[in-house]
């Protein structure tokens, strides 16, 4: 027997379903003009400092099929590793973007500024990365993961260092495919399953 701690529990998740675009990306649903200005159209505006890159990829199910209904949100720091709102952050970086799988091919493209090294608490540093949150029909709770970059020094990143099976670290690292362009595939199952985060 004991007194009760007074607290609250997070509201349970439910799948975003196949029509998530109506709410988050109405133009993608065929409903352009729902709003004056949609949210998360681009993570930066003109005048941004740093390298503009394109990351292409797809979300792939357990039988190798590409999801055509997935919506992804991204959140990232600016070219100097500062998040919007931090002192000295680039005012041209909003940091947040929404992008969707193409309804025909399932391919997605994130056009953004390459983030810098993030200085975290107590001297911990994080290699340049972009945080992702993935929703779709059949995904009962949004999936979190990160994009790191093949051409950056990821050796001392705290999160990658916590992946016990080092063979899986590569699932979080975007492959360079050309000048300022990368590829990042998100595999929901299988031997190459992407490392998803409970963070």
């Amino acid at each position: 027997m004991s007194a009760k701690v007074s607290n609250f529990q997070e509201t349970p998740s439910q799948t975003a379903g196949p029509y998530v675009h109506i709410g988050l990306m109405p133009t993608h649903a065929g409903n352009a003009g729902s709003y004056d200005g949609e949210i998360g159209v681009s993570p930066f505006v003109d005048g941004v400092k740093g390298e503009i890159i394109e990351i292409r990829g797809a979300v792939i199910d357990g039988q190798g099929m590409t999801l055509r209904d997935a919506v992804i949100e991204s959140w990232q720091a600016d070219a100097d590793g500062r998040y919007p709102g931090e002192t000295g952050a680039d005012p041209c970086v909003t940091g947040h973007c929404r992008f969707a799988a193409d309804p025909a091919s399932g391919e997605f493209c994130l056009r953004t500024v390459k983030p810098g090294i993030v200085a975290d608490r107590a001297g911990v540093t994080q290699a340049p990365h972009i945080s992702l949150w993935i929703v779709a029909r059949g995904i009962n709770q949004g999936l979190s993961t990160r994009i790191y970059f093949e051409d950056e020094d990821n050796g001392s990143d705290f999160l990658l260092g916590r992946i016990e099976n080092k063979n899986r670290c590569g699932t979080l690292i975007a492959k360079k495919t050309g000048e300022a362009s990368y590829r990042f595939e998100i595999k929901l199952q299988g031997p190459d399953e992407t490392v998803f985060l409970d963070i």
Binding site: Q9, P12, Y19, V20, I39, G62, V124, I139, Q141, D198
Partner: protein
Amino acid sequence: MGKAMIDSGRLIPRNGAVHPVRRDMEYKTSVLRSPDFPLLSLESTKTEETGPVFGHTSLGPLDNDLILNWSKGLASAIGERILLHGRVIDENGRSVPKALIEIWQANAGGRYRHVEDTYFAPLDDNFGGCGRTLTDAEGRYQFMTIKPGAYPWPNRGNDWRPAHIHFSIFGHSFGQRLITQMYFEGDPLIDRCPIAATIKDRSQLERLVAPLDFLAARPLDFLAYRFDIVLRGRRQTMFENKTEGL
């Protein structure tokens, strides 16, 4: 204690027991779209503790009125008129002001305005099906809308979704991100729905079922339903900011 102190702690880890299972044979699409491996559990970092700020300036005056927003105020959508309202708090019981709430739903006949929805129930010329708003200083929000219809969907032999409204909530940090669905009190289809049933703890599913809020109903105009939302909180003890490992 200032705001900096309150917001400086790490995010409280998610409690998987409140959430749906990721894979459920009765919700067939989840079978190939749920990870096989356990997720990697870590303490939150600055990446998860920060997030975009949404200002009132980007929202239009009809954005939270789904009865009128598709027609730009010229004509009303068909259906049972309802006020949907509630409050967003965090796990510490604190209000979450300026949370972005986005909703989407089917029309009164159970049809979505989406290029991929082919159900033969007709579209309503005056209903788009999306709305958005920011919570006020006490975390409160409200929408005017119509009650959506139930609709069939291909899963098991004869599955129907209960009337529901999709909710997307963006608090102050990316790690709080949440999408869920709100159901309506008394709907007999909730107990037959394999998507609702992905939440195995009945008491947690009940939190998604909005009660009729008759005191908030407006005579000769609309009924009201209430839906309160809890986002992840952050730990607030004075020991939060110690150096790693010390």
